[in-house]
């Protein structure tokens, strides 16, 4: 009986080893990837479809709405495979690029957790989702130049005694607990707050703001447009933009919001970059103007 059990276990282990072996074999993987990329580029040049992945739950960068109408008269873009629509800064940007290329636009809704994984598996060809370019992410994806520069800010609770803070150094002795979004470049900045306790980080920014609202954390370190959106519907939150000469030192470049393509799909990345260049999309004033438009038409501003 014991012998039998052992043999079963060994076989199971071997079978699993076989599967892992297949997955790791360099040749196999390179082959499938090549075919995939080829298929993707062929697809996009013949059909002319810009396939973009985003959360559609990250206002004002991107959000989901039930109707096509946007309060400024523009039209939201259908979300692939659903009867709903997406709009926001990222959708405006994607539309600009698709228009310049003369392509159709296809928006794919995806979870933040699997946003890179889904692109690698060929569900869509680029990510335009308010994603900051960090050195770690550059190792995994091919990034364009920034299509938006976002300023960091801190969000605190009204009446917490923190709302009058203007400089980062003023947090000294306050022993605040900080939170931010998981898997973002902000995580590495949180320990720059003096006397800080690193609290749990959350998967979405909305959860971070919820943590500040109910006292689980004292400070949320998120970007300005997102924090301002949250403060619109959460009256107990105060957004603080710290003084330029006494704020977070951000070597990770989280402020640079870029478009990501598959790591080995640099040709496509360059194609998008040349579009950004041709429409002159490197002017911060133009970016800020489009962002204020997105903030104005987002659901939270129109209830």
């Amino acid at each position: 009986m014991k012998k039998r059990l052992l043999s079963v276990m060994m076989t199971a282990a071997m079978t699993m080893g076989l599967f892992t072996g297949c997955g790791n074999s360099d040749n196999g993987e390179a082959d499938t990837k090549d075919v995939e990329i080829q298929a993707a580029t062929e697809d996009s040049s013949s059909k002319g479809v810009l396939r973009v992945g985003m959360e559609c739950a990250y206002a004002p960068f991107n959000w989901t709405q039930e109707t096509e109408d946007v309060s400024n008269g523009e039209k939201a873009v259908p979300i692939y495979g659903t009867s709903y629509y997406a709009y926001g800064y990222d959708v405006m940007m994607a539309q600009k690029i698709a228009d310049a290329l003369g392509w159709d636009l296809e928006i794919h809704k995806v979870e933040w957790d699997s946003i890179g994984l889904a692109m690698d598996s060929g569900q869509y060809d680029c990510i335009i989702a308010g994603m900051g370019k960090t050195p770690e992410r550059e190792a995994a994806y091919a990034f364009t130049e920034p299509y938006y520069y976002r300023d960091n800010c801190v969000t605190v609770k009204k009446g917490s005694g923190l709302e009058d803070i203007k400089k980062l150094s003023e947090f000294e002795g306050k022993n605040v607990t900080v939170t931010t979004q998981l898997g973002t470049g902000w995580v590495s900045l949180t320990d720059q707050i003096p006397d800080v306790t690193l609290g749990a980080n959350y998967e979405t920014t909305a959860e971070c703001f919820m943590a500040v609202s109910n006292g689980v954390a004292d400070v949320a370190l998120i970007d300005l447009p997102t924090s301002e959106s949250a403060a619109m519907t959460n009256g107990d939150l105060v957004v603080i933009v710290l003084d330029e000469d006494d704020t977070f030192d951000d070597p990770t470049g989280m402020t640079n919001v870029c478009i990501a393509a598959r790591k080995d799909d640099t040709e496509f990345r360059d194609q998008i970059q040349s579009v950004l260049d041709s429409i002159g999309w490197n002017d911060k004033a133009a970016m800020d103007e489009m962002m204020s438009e997105a903030i104005k038409v987002q659901p939270a501003a129109n209830n």
Partner: protein
């Protein structure tokens, strides 16, 4: 017009926010509920069938006089089912969803998220159900099978005509349990982008930065769904237990 009407709502506390969000995103919540039910029902039914299949395979007994081919085939089938059951019982469903969906996509299998969600539910349910079925079969008195065989039934016929119908009745409470678990477990499928209730709550909450209210709405929906199904299952169970009192064999045995 529509915006004007909504502006007058102007929610101030969490109850008002819940009402506001439920009204504004009624369609999204309906569709989320429908998809949750769809994945849970289809996934559970197919999972039951798979569970029965694996359970029966695990119950097959080999005899000395069986042919070599049969012995080898049965052993292979048994080995596959053991590996399958262990792999799915020993890993979390959320991880299975990620591995199966993206694993298939990366090997160029064009599978949709809903199909992948159902597949994960089926495989997961099958692994747990097989154990339940095996236990169910074991719970039936050995005399039942022996009697059937003595009457000249083949082992297969004895299983399907005598053992399984009785085992089925014993398994029903566990099947109901599994379905209710699945109804709630579909929420983990949001990681691969199935727009079920949990994903809907995240989408709605993300629009207004009102997660708590959004989750409260789906908590109510999940509760109502599970509560209703639980009542239905209890009703079925009672119906079946009444029937068992009616079986003549019991009376006959009591008289002895």
């Amino acid at each position: 017009m529509r915006y004007g009407m909504l502006a007058s709502v102007n929610p101030t506390n969490f109850m008002e926010w819940m009402i506001f969000l439920t009204r504004k995103y009624a369609n999204l919540f309906w569709q989320g509920t429908w998809l949750t039910l769809y994945v849970a029902v289809v996934g559970t039914i197919l999972g039951f069938l798979l569970g029965y299949l694996v359970g029966i395979i695990e119950d097959i007994k080999l005899h000395k006089e069986d042919s070599v081919i049969k012995k080898v085939l049965v052993r292979i089938l048994k080995l596959i089912s053991i590996i399958y059951v262990e792999m799915f019982r020993d890993t979390p469903m959320i991880v299975q969803a990620m591995v199966i969906f993206f694993g298939l996509r990366q090997s160029n299998v064009e599978i949709g998220v809903v199909t992948a969600g159902i597949l994960v539910t089926v495989l997961n349910t099958g692994a747990y159900m097989s154990e339940t079925v095996r236990a169910g079969i074991k719970s039936i008195d050995a005399g039942q099978r022996e009697g059937a065989l003595a009457l000249g039934m083949s082992p297969m016929l004895a299983m399907f005509a005598v053992v399984l119908p009785q085992a089925f009745k014993n398994i029903i409470p566990e099947m109901a349990n599994t379905f209710l678990t699945n109804l709630k477990m579909t929420s983990v499928l949001n990681v691969i982008g199935v727009s079920e209730l949990f994903m809907t709550a995240k989408t709605v909450g993300g629009n207004y930065y009102k997660y708590f209210e959004s989750y409260l709405i789906i908590a109510v929906i999940y509760f109502v769904l599970c509560f209703l199904f639980n009542r239905i299952f209890l009703l079925i169970e009672r119906k079946l237990s009444l029937k068992s009192d009616y079986v003549l064999a019991v009376e006959y045995m009591d008289n002895q």
